[in-house]
């Protein structure tokens, strides 16, 4: 076990040479406390681009679904308000889609905090403890430097919800030209999601579910920042989270144990 060393010295922690795993860099700031470089630069950029696109997509999307303001017009169809709103929605949708693809790539090639494997027993037992923690029940939730399993599950679900919104969105985008190459890429969705009305419904409902996710996500981050004093909020800008050295070693032991099991298997 590598021990955290002096201030400002970056040391890889734990075993190396595992599947494309970048071991976390961390700095000891004061006795007993370390700063861990959790969120790498690309994922931080992605986070804020994604947040901004969701906001823009939501506002323009609600307008498209239910135009709440009228164009200022002489009464002739010379304005282009809905047209512009749709164009902004479409361009942002492409950014959101590229972000989704990037984040999927980052699941495989980011550092170890970029995902938690959902098909492990430890993930689900940790989830149970985390749920108890959030329900103020006695629990054995360890301190997670990155995502706790419940948070991770919500991000997996967020990814699936985003995918549904992206797919149905592209159907709606290409709907006027179903006989073109692009149209043929999306017209199969008739058979999965149902007719045009149903596809629109899926798009709309999942957009709202994403908004609910965002609200809970923001609350949880603020709460974590205040309760755990882990610098959750600022970490999405600087990349660093604060953790107790003891917690870190504990987590590392956990992972190491698991790795050993994996190696044997």
């Amino acid at each position: 076990m590598a021990e955290p060393t002096g201030i400002g010295v970056q040391t890889p922690l734990g075993e190396t040479g595992k599947i494309r795993r970048r071991d976390p860099i961390y700095q000891a700031v004061e006795p007993g406390t370390v700063k861990v470089y959790v969120w790498e630069f690309p994922v931080r950029v992605w986070h804020w681009v994604n947040a901004l696109s969701i906001f823009v997509l939501f506002v323009t999307g609600v307008y498209i679904g239910n135009p709440f303001v009228h164009a200022a017009s002489s009464g002739e169809a010379d304005a282009f308000l809905m047209g512009w709103v749709r164009i902004v929605h479409f361009i942002t949708a492409f950014i959101f889609t590229l972000g989704w693809v990037f984040r999927l790539y980052w699941v495989f090639f980011g550092n170890r905090y970029t995902r938690e494997h959902p098909f492990r027993r430890r993930f689900w037992s940790g989830m149970w403890e985390t749920v108890k923690y959030y329900l103020f029940l006695p629990n054995r939730k360890p301190h997670y430097v990155g995502h706790n399993p419940l948070a991770m599950l919500s991000y997996w679900l967020f990814g699936v919800m985003s995918l549904i919104v992206i797919l149905t969105g592209f159907f709606l985008f290409f709907e006027p030209q179903l006989d073109t190459v692009f149209g043929r890429l999306v017209s199969w969705m008739f058979l999965v999601f149902g007719d045009s009305f149903s596809i629109r419904s899926w798009h709309h409902i999942f957009a709202w579910l994403i908004i609910l996710f965002v609200i809970v996500h923001v609350y949880m981050s603020v709460r974590d920042d205040l309760v755990e004093r882990s610098g959750t909020i600022s970490s999405m800008i600087t990349g660093y989270k604060t953790a107790k050295r003891a917690h870190l070693i504990e987590a590392e032991e956990d992972t190491a144990g698991e790795r050993k099991t994996l190696d044997v298997g």
Binding site: A71, M82, R140, D179, F190, G194, W208, L212
Partner: protein, 372 residues
């Protein structure tokens, strides 16, 4: 063909009725145009009419209002008489035929035996799964349908009830109605002509297409003829400029409605409905609902009746027959989540000291275990 008697071609029959060659060519050209074919296709149409006999059609009504039949006989281009008397032989239609009872039912059998694999079964209305809900001449309609469909060249489902289940299949669906296309025996091709009712010209043109080319027209993913159902009304709508401009009628009586603004906010289903209303229009091209100031209710769309209310923008919960106003429900859900967060945050503040203490206890135990 089972029977040895050679059937007269369409051309021969017309000549017998005193139609001159010149008049015949005029009719053939008019039909070519009505079908939207290129002018150079006229010889193909002429050849088909010279060599093919009239197409026998059995038209059966099930759980329907006979709307498709009513619309069919109001087709203008080609008009019903042209199709009915020149191109097809409508052998059976509950709403139009003079005969009834045993004689009529026997006629179906006669057609089935004389023209197996050659006649078209045009079906209108849905079929119920509830026993006894619909019988024709004392027999379950479903049985009769399967029998007649099994020997047909193709089944043409006319109207939304036949294509999707329509109003009989809408909530609460007391007769367990399903679309006739769900009952078509395997191996028999079918085509869907949705609409409540479908545009008359779409029905006559589809039959005329089958007569001339001997095949079903090209269809989309949901088996609708592409020529009429490839585009949404929204993309061909004459009010579309007002949609893009952001100018909408809010009620049926406001200035927007008088100015002919987009009917989107009045629940118009144009953006989700595939039909040819915007091009062919109704009553011989006179008008169509959106032109005359009424939002589209999406009658050609699957489940259209369950997508009510017609005059509001709603979404359907996937897999159900329930619609919601997404913005209202979304706002309520957001409020509920916010309330939940407020409670949780308050609980966090109140219990903070206690929980932290407990956590420390647990942690201490763990440390002891590790220590051992």
């Amino acid at each position: 063909m089972a029977t040895a008697v050679k059937r007269k071609t369409i051309y021969e029959e017309q000549r017998e009725q005193g139609v001159t060659r010149r008049e015949f060519l005029k009719v053939a050209t008019a039909i070519t145009m009505a079908l939207g074919l290129k002018l150079k296709m006229v010889p193909t149409v002429v050849h088909a009419m010279e060599t093919r006999p009239r197409l026998p059609v059995i038209w059966m009504d099930f759980q329907s209002c006979s709307g498709p039949t009513e619309s069919f006989i109001r087709s203008y281009q080609p008009n019903m008489q042209k199709v009915l008397f020149d191109m097809i032989a409508l052998e059976y239609n509950g709403a139009l035929m003079a005969g009834s009872g045993t004689a009529a039912e026997e006629h179906i059998l006669k057609i089935m035996n004389e023209y197996p694999g050659e006649y078209i079964l045009a079906a209108e209305g849905s079929l119920p799964l509830l026993p006894g809900a619909l019988t024709i001449a004392g027999r379950p309609a479903e049985e009769t349908f399967r029998e007649v469909a099994a020997k047909a060249k193709a089944v043409v489902a006319m109207g939304s009830c036949a294509t999707w289940g329509g109003i009989p299949a809408a909530k609460p669906n007391p007769t367990l109605a399903k679309a006739v296309t769900d009952f078509v025996p395997p191996g028999v091709p079918f085509i869907r002509i949705p609409g409540c009712p479908p545009i008359g010209e779409v029905m006559t043109n589809t039959l005329a297409h089958i007569v001339i080319f001997g095949t079903l027209p090209e269809v989309d993913e949901l088996a609708r003829p592409k020529a009429y159902y490839r585009h949404r009304l929204h993309d061909k709508c004459q009010r579309r400029p007002f949609f893009d401009a952001g100018l909408y009628a809010e009620t049926f009586n406001d200035e927007g409605a008088r100015q002919g603004y987009c009917l989107y906010k009045l629940g118009c289903r144009g953006p989700t409905t595939y039909n040819a209303c915007a091009e062919l229009r109704w009553n011989g091209g006179l008008s169509w609902p959106i032109q005359s100031g009424h939002p589209c209710i999406g009658c050609a769309a699957p489940n259209f009746w369950d997508e009510a209310p017609f005059y509001a923008r709603v979404v359907q919960l996937p897999g159900t027959q329930t619609t919601i106003n997404p913005e209202r429900v979304g706002a309520v859900m957001t409020g509920a989540v916010a309330a939940g967060i407020a409670v949780h945050a308050a609980a966090t503040v109140i219990t903070k000291g206690r929980i932290t203490k407990k956590k420390t206890d647990v942690k201490a135990q763990e440390d002891i275990e590790i220590g051992q």
